[in-house]
């Protein structure tokens, strides 16, 4: 009969604390500096001259702002591995390992006492710093201090989670350094796998050249996910003049997420206990101590590194000579398989700590792996899971956007559906499209981008290289495949709605500028603007509106904001002779309707938050010799008086830059 053993051993606990307390002390000092000391220094000057005082900030607002800027998961991920590593140090040294396990104490006691002492050293500083921060905040006059404790909760759960991951990492190996490396690998494993797939896709798959953009951190990468999804959000609203705070609100978000992470951490700690229970102590100093992880590590490393490496090799070859889509894939597959075999045996050498790993058994395993890798790469080529052909379902799309020379974002359901159809038709012809670099190496082109913002927060990005549809050598099939895109975006209605903006037909024109080119000195010039100072604001607006209406006629006639797939160099001189160097811009304004910025939405400048309400936008247009309505109106309304001040880019270059065409 074996005796019952407890989960806790006080002698070990004291011994663990005696080795890690210094880390806890340093952590506490750091937290003190970050929390109360920094807060007190920041709020020390809150007299009448202080900006915060002038803006009407209360001490509570300042406290929330201060706490919302404090790191959470980042602290946990660093402290957890340091403290846990020191506590379980004995697992990585033969002498310590053997002796510790010869003492009259069970693994259960050693394990759970180790966890408890690690968490004590990691969490007590957070608790103490929070208490001191609370006292400091109350002393400074902050009314509500709950944000401090929510911050402490986030840090505590993060620390618990990272401690569990740290222990898992340490249990899988017999080398401390490898354990630390595994810790960071496990923490970023999902992200690294996603990056590997995206990198490969960006190098090999049609339309996925921008696949490295738009990575949305997932729950499996907690150090990046927690700060975004579990936080204190303070909303401070200012008056129209941005001179006074008029409203303050705050919210603690991510409670259920933290609960989920805490449960996961507890489960992982129990799993790790089982690993420890069955851990063979002779695996000290082994690269991998858990048998079932060895093949996972070997195959995983071989597959991901060789996949990315193969894609890179194909990309490098393509940089030297144009390749067909299939040619590029063939090079990538062969390279991946060769690299995979090399890495497979390299990982075996690491695991078994010997160079003698070449045997029949390993060769068979490697052969099976190579066949599996080949299968996956071929599936990738055949787009079995439909990555290349993916067009999201209508009900999943929040908005759809396209960027060629200008940016358009569609939020209306009918527009999105029309756009989806256009995209699907485009992809149906991809055989005509994806070999353009090989078929038309001398035809200039560009890349256009399609983005879908999905309702689940993901962003789907596709980049398609295209060439000028007007080039004489391009096939009619190619033109048929791409022209519908141009027709779609060059529709005058869409230009007005998306390039000028949603208030294009319901707006005041609050400013308008046309730059006339005036010789200044020999070889130099100045841009002259008529500001119409003699007019009242109303008169100016009427004047601007008249020009604007004529400008819209040019838009309707297809004379301005037209986009094409030609590159910068295509018919460069002709373009220069047609477009004006003179600048032209105007501001559209509607006090009742928010201006919807297609560009800001497309590039997600708000970083996922709600857009700040805008009521106006300045539009810049490149006028050309076809814009007769606008030019005439500008002249009639007095923006310029004689034709000498108007110059095409060609004329300007000739006169001021001595450009030789």
């Amino acid at each position: 009969m074996q005796s019952k053993t407890s989960f806790f051993n006080m002698a070990l606990f004291k011994k663990n604390i005696s080795r890690t307390w210094i880390v806890g002390l340093l952590y506490f000092v750091l937290l003190l500096l970050m929390l109360p000391v920094y807060f007190i220094i920041n709020t020390a000057n809150h007299g009448e001259d202080d900006w915060y005082t002038q803006m009407g900030y209360t001490m509570e607002m300042r406290l929330y702002e201060h706490i919302s800027l404090m790191p959470t998961a980042l602290l946990g991920i660093i402290v957890a591995i340091i403290v846990t590593g020191i506590t379980f140090w004995y697992l990585f040294n033969r002498r310590d390992n053997y002796m510790m396990h010869a003492f009259p104490v069970s693994r259960k006691s050693m394990y759970f006492t180790g966890i408890l002492s690690s968490l004590t050293v990691s969490l007590v500083p957070v608790l103490l710093a929070s208490v001191i921060m609370t006292i400091a905040a109350v002393a400074e006059g902050a009314g509500g201090v709950s944000c401090i404790w929510y911050w402490a909760l986030i840090v505590a759960v993060s620390t618990l989670l990272f401690t569990a991951i740290a222990i898992f990492s340490l249990m899988t190996t017999g080398q401390l350094v490898t354990g630390v490396i595994f810790y960071f690998i496990f923490n970023f494993l999902y992200l690294m796998m996603e990056v590997a797939f995206r990198m490969t896709a960006s190098l090999l798959l049609y339309g996925l050249g921008g696949a490295m953009n738009g990575i949305n951190y997932k729950i499996w990468t907690p150090v990046l996910y927690i700060p975004v999804h579990a936080k204190i959000e303070s909303n401070i609203i200012y008056d129209d003049m941005y001179s006074k705070v008029i409203e303050f609100g705050h919210e603690f978000i991510g409670g259920p997420l933290l609960a989920g992470y805490a449960v996961f951490a507890v489960v992982l700690i129990i799993v790790c206990y089982q690993l420890y229970r069955f851990k063979k102590l002779e695996t000290v100093l082994d690269f991998i101590a858990v048998p079932f992880i060895k093949p996972i590590f070997s195959v995983g490393m071989s597959f991901f590194i060789s996949m990315v490496g193969g894609a890179f090799i194909a990309g490098m070859v393509e940089a030297l000579t144009p390749l067909t889509y299939d040619g590029r894939f063939a090079i990538a597959i062969v390279s991946s398989l060769i690299l995979g075999v090399i890495i497979y045996f390299a990982t075996q050498m690491l695991i078994e700590k010997t160079l003698r790993v070449f045997c029949f058994k390993k060769a068979v395993h490697c052969g099976i792996y190579t066949l599996a890798a080949l299968g996956i790469l071929v599936c990738m080529r055949l787009d079995v899971i439909g990555v290349e052909n993916r067009v999201p379902k209508l009900e999943d799309i929040q908005w759809a956007g396209i960027q060629v020379d200008y940016t358009m974002v569609f939020t209306d359901e009918m527009d999105i559906e029309a756009f989806r159809q256009l995209h699907q038709n485009f992809l149906a012809d991809k055989k005509e499209l994806r070999n353009i670099n090989y078929n038309y190496p001398d035809v200039d082109g560009k890349t256009f981008t399609i983005r879908y913002k999905l309702k689940n927060g993901d962003i789907l990005i596709r980049d398609y290289p295209v060439i000028n549809t007007e080039a004489s050598v391009v096939s009619s099939e190619y033109v048929a495949a791409t022209q519908p895109i141009l027709d779609f975006i060059n529709n005058p209605g869409r230009i007005k709605e998306h390039i000028i903006g949603n208030i294009w037909n319901n707006c005041e024109i609050t400013s308008m500028n046309f730059g006339g080119i005036i010789p200044y000195e020999a070889g130099d010039y100045t841009m002259e603007y008529n500001s119409f100072d003699e007019l009242t604001t109303g008169e100016k607006k009427e004047k601007f509106k008249r020009v604007y209406n004529e400008f819209l006629k040019d838009v309707d006639a297809g004379n301005v904001f037209r986009q094409d797939f030609s590159g910068y160099d295509y018919m460069y001189e002709e373009k220069q002779k047609k477009t004006f160097y003179n600048s032209f811009d105007f501001t559209v304004y509607n006090k009742d309707i928010n201006y919807f910025s297609d560009t800001d939405t497309f590039w997600d400048y708000s970083n996922g938050r709600d857009m700040t309400a805008m009521h106006e936008q300045t539009i810049y247009a490149e006028l050309n010799t076809d814009c007769t309505n606008t030019l005439e109106a500008l002249k009639n309304e007095g923006f310029y008086e004689n034709e000498d001040v108007i110059m095409t880019n060609y004329e300007f270059s000739k006169k001021y830059e001595n450009y030789e065409y």
Partner: protein
């Protein structure tokens, strides 16, 4: 006290312990000897509950050792490479052992400490010399009042005076408290002085396990000289080794020495001396049958 029954342990493809059997009686001082790589440290780690066997069983007082906290409290271990916590001094280690071992005798510890005046108990143990660290390990282990003491190369690194002092401490504990000792060592002459039982290991197996007396009487060295050539020996005499030097023949004979002595005396030798073998010689002759490479070195 210790029963190791059919224990097998593999490290990958290497068989470290091969269906090993070993038995240590309560109160015995059991010397475990064997060449390097025989598996001595491996079996000791099984007996300490550090390793888990692939097959067989390791029992102390009839109970499995592995993960058995109560059984582990009954023995103390001094490994070849001694463990102390970083930053810990002798008194810190004493406190740790006191918390770990239920029968730890602090008074005894202080008494023993007085016997080793060179050791400063407030100095970090890891800064002490290797010999002093061994002394501290012995003090701690003896003060833990174990029923079994497991020693792996215990006096390696100690000077002769200190060795004697340490062994005398252990022997008095054996005499007074019935302590059982399992000791592994390469120093066979030293084991010969202290052990009453011996197990000889090679290739992961116990080749011989007997009391030292029995072992020493099972192999005999007989020196004989005849007038002329040596006559043929009777078949019942099993000669492990025969060395001839002029007319003097040295025989290593396995079996009951008196029977061999009587049989040879009937052959009327000019000279006959029966000499006991040292443990070291027994070790070498026994392992000689196991293709142990050094068998001819001493001749």
């Amino acid at each position: 006290m210790i029963q190791v029954n059919n224990v097998t342990k593999r490290f990958g493809d290497f068989v470290a312990l091969d269906d090993l059997n070993m038995h240590v009686e309560k109160g015995a001082i059991y010397g475990l000897v064997g060449p390097n790589g025989a598996g001595k440290s491996t079996i000791i780690r099984h007996i300490c509950g550090v390793y888990k066997q692939d097959a067989g069983e390791v029992l102390i007082d009839g109970q499995p050792v592995y993960e058995n906290q109560a059984i582990k409290g009954k023995y103390a271990v001094i490994p070849d490479d001694i463990f102390f916590f970083t930053q810990a001094n002798t008194l810190d280690m004493m406190k740790f052992y006191k918390d770990m071992y239920p029968k730890f005798d602090e008074a005894l510890f202080k008494k023993i400490l007085n016997c080793f005046p060179a050791i400063n108990p407030k100095k970090m143990v890891r800064t002490l010399s290797k010999g002093m660290q061994k002394q501290v390990a012995f003090m701690l282990s003896i003060a833990a009042r174990p029923e079994l003491m497991i020693l792996d190369e215990p006096v390696d690194g100690l000077d002769p005076v200190m060795r004697r002092q340490i062994w005398s401490l252990i022997m008095s504990d054996v005499a007074e408290n019935g302590l059982t000792v399992l000791v592994s060592s390469h120093n066979l002459r030293e084991l010969e002085d202290v052990c009453d039982h011996v197990g000889i290991m090679n290739n992961g197996k116990i080749l011989i396990e007997r009391s030292l007396d029995e072992l020493q009487t099972s192999i005999t060295k007989i020196q004989i000289a005849f007038d002329g050539d040596m006559p043929k020996l009777p078949d019942e005499i099993q000669v492990l080794k025969k060395i001839t030097n002029g007319r003097v023949h040295t025989l290593i004979v396995k079996g009951e020495p008196r029977a061999a002595e009587q049989a040879i005396s009937q052959m009327n030798p000019l000279l006959m001396d029966v000499l006991p073998l040292t443990l070291e010689e027994i070790f070498i002759y026994e392992l000689g049958g196991e293709n142990y490479a050094v068998k001819d070195i001493i001749f």
